[in-house]
Symmetry: C2
Subunit: 354 residues, 2 copies
């Protein structure tokens, strides 16, 4: 298989972990006889520095022409004081919109060897394995108007959705549940928001199309509680953009190893974008000690979702599992009697297992 992959290293540790995913993908290409071509482009703070904008047109064009996109991370204190339209995050929001990446998939699953670092008791976190399906291109993030009013004495943002936008993400939620334990939890605030009422109606309508999936509705405030008290009750959670932002970050710390969590952002029939759940970690950038595993697992998701290479994806996931079980770890983690590796060493260790 021949594929063109755009790399968007971005800021902070982005470049370091992107390199790791490239190396692992090369190992996969060798072993399975594929050919992956890589092309790097700028996004985020580094793009502001070199192009005067966090999302240069050529980056968007390159992504549109690619088979898939890997993104490292964006942001850092250097760009925090810039006006909104020049903030690194704008690059991220812009590329999501430009590629119509409406579905953000965030699996949360612990590694037994690392669960000791969970803030939760082992009896609580044990067995948790959930997937958050977050709507990514609608809601409060992109609704208009979003503006000051009355001479700056008032302000509005708009939470807006079309029926079609809700339908496609709800479908993605059901389909994701079908591939897992067939349990879908739809999260909304239907006792307050009109948009949540429509959301809940659509979930109820769609039930008939997925008779094998068990569905329930949970209010967002209750979901925020249940993620902590009883995370293993969840299989797939589907929710709108802002709720998904909050709940997926909440969920990402439950297992105690944020540096291991990948994500996939998918379009309907277009290019997918894959990035780690963690950020740009400016404090350790350039030191060569970042944990590349979330990025490497994001590359695995790319193989699975964008290229249909499930066997290859499983191979990467198995390699990571192996390395972790063998006690190898990076500086963000702690493993008793384990072996501390830097970014390059960890990458090589994983590539070796492939």
């Amino acid at each position: 298989m021949e594929k063109k992959i755009v790399l968007l290293p971005g800021d902070g540790i982005g470049a370091e972990v992107i390199n790791s995913s490239k190396e692992v993908l090369n190992a996969i290409a060798n072993k399975f006889g594929h050919s992956f071509q890589f092309e790097s482009h700028d996004i985020g703070g580094v793009a502001v520095d070199t192009h005067g904008t966090p999302l240069p047109d050529e980056t968007v064009e390159a992504c549109k022409g690619a088979d898939a996109v890997l993104l490292g991370a964006v942001g850092g204190p250097k760009w925090d004081q810039l006006p909104s339209h020049l903030r690194p995050e704008r690059g991220l929001l812009g590329i999501r919109k430009a590629l119509d990446l409406f579905a953000n998939l965030r699996p949360v699953k612990g590694f037994e060897k690392l669960l000791h670092a969970s803030p939760l008791k082992e009896t609580v976190i044990n067995g948790s394995d959930l997937l958050i399906v977050r709507e990514l291109t609608g809601g409060l993030y992109f609704g208009e108007p979003s503006e000051r009013r009355d001479n700056g004495n008032a302000v509005v943002d708009t939470l807006s959705y079309t029926r079609k936008e809700i339908e496609r993400i709800v479908d993605k939620g059901f389909q994701s549940a079908q591939l897992r334990k067939k349990k879908l939890t739809s999260v909304d605030k239907a006792n307050v928001l009109e948009s949540s009422k429509l959301w809940r109606e659509i979930v109820e309508e769609k039930k008939a199309d997925y008779p094998d999936v068990e569905v329930d509705h949970v209010l967002v405030d209750a979901a925020a509680m249940k993620l902590i008290t009883n995370p293993d009750q969840f299989d797939v959670i589907v929710t709108e953009n802002m709720f998904g932002d909050i709940l997926s970050d909440e969920a990402s710390v439950l297992t105690g190893s944020l540096g291991m969590l990948p994500s996939a952002s998918l379009a309907e029939n277009g290019v997918g974008l894959y990035e780690p759940a963690h950020g740009s970690a400016p404090d350790i950038a350039g030191k060569g000690i970042a944990n590349p595993i979330a990025m490497i697992l994001s590359a695995a998701l790319m193989l699975r979702y964008s290229f249909g290479l499930d066997k290859e994806a499983l191979q990467i996931e198995a390699a990571v599992e192996h390395v972790v079980n063998d006690g190898y770890y990076t500086a963000d983690l702690q493993v008793e009697n384990g072996t501390l590796l830097n970014t390059v060493e960890m990458t090589e260790q994983i590539a070796k297992y492939i």
Copy 2:
């Protein structure tokens, strides 16, 4: 001191716990020579049943004429299928708006004897003692338009705030911090929302008025993580309505004893409303086994915030502390070698210490 207190028992276990708070307040009145008059009115599902609306006018009028309001809880499966305007929650939202209860204060503090029930490791939860100050009458909850569009093919809700609405809640946040450890965390989503940008500007402006308070800004997604990984970094959190709904419920499960957490909802110069952080618990309603402590501690907050009776409030809080330390508990909790009490027994036990 003579005070007129309106009781709104509401649904589920509401009536049982309201009775407990009344009994404890009577004990306080006897001991300190006050006179509290109580008057009960309907709200929520019970009001729908008896008056055809979750918030009868006479309830609103009675609350406006009172010195303070105690509310039990609203809601239950019986009313879940009713159209929105008849849902019990509408009563709650309506009374908040009618009394202009813009500031919801939710303290989260564990009891040493009960921390074993926390989903968090004891090393993580230990020492946590925080207060969430949530804006309660603005934002997505009340913004207009909130409607279907395009023949039901689209929907909008509106997150709107005036500068004045933000200023008064931010002031309340600073003032609350001054009474505690002088640390204020303002939570927003300023990298995405215009309303959050104004919010952050106002917090920055107000800093000068409270030079003794240390302030930082945390994005809502990061706050959802930090509440779990490191709850004891927080003193006072101030945030807008929807973020506050989610984060305060998230925070409420950290200590493992939701049945112990009170809340206060305050107006600028008007009547305050006090209610437990927990809900109406329809599954145990009428069984006489509900934990009355959150409601009793809410009555203590009433004494402190609405009547300025700090000594009396402390007396209730000390009594609760005592009872818990002596190993008394209700069915929602578990205490090894402790004594299980029902609602009435627990109430008497607390009254006895007063």
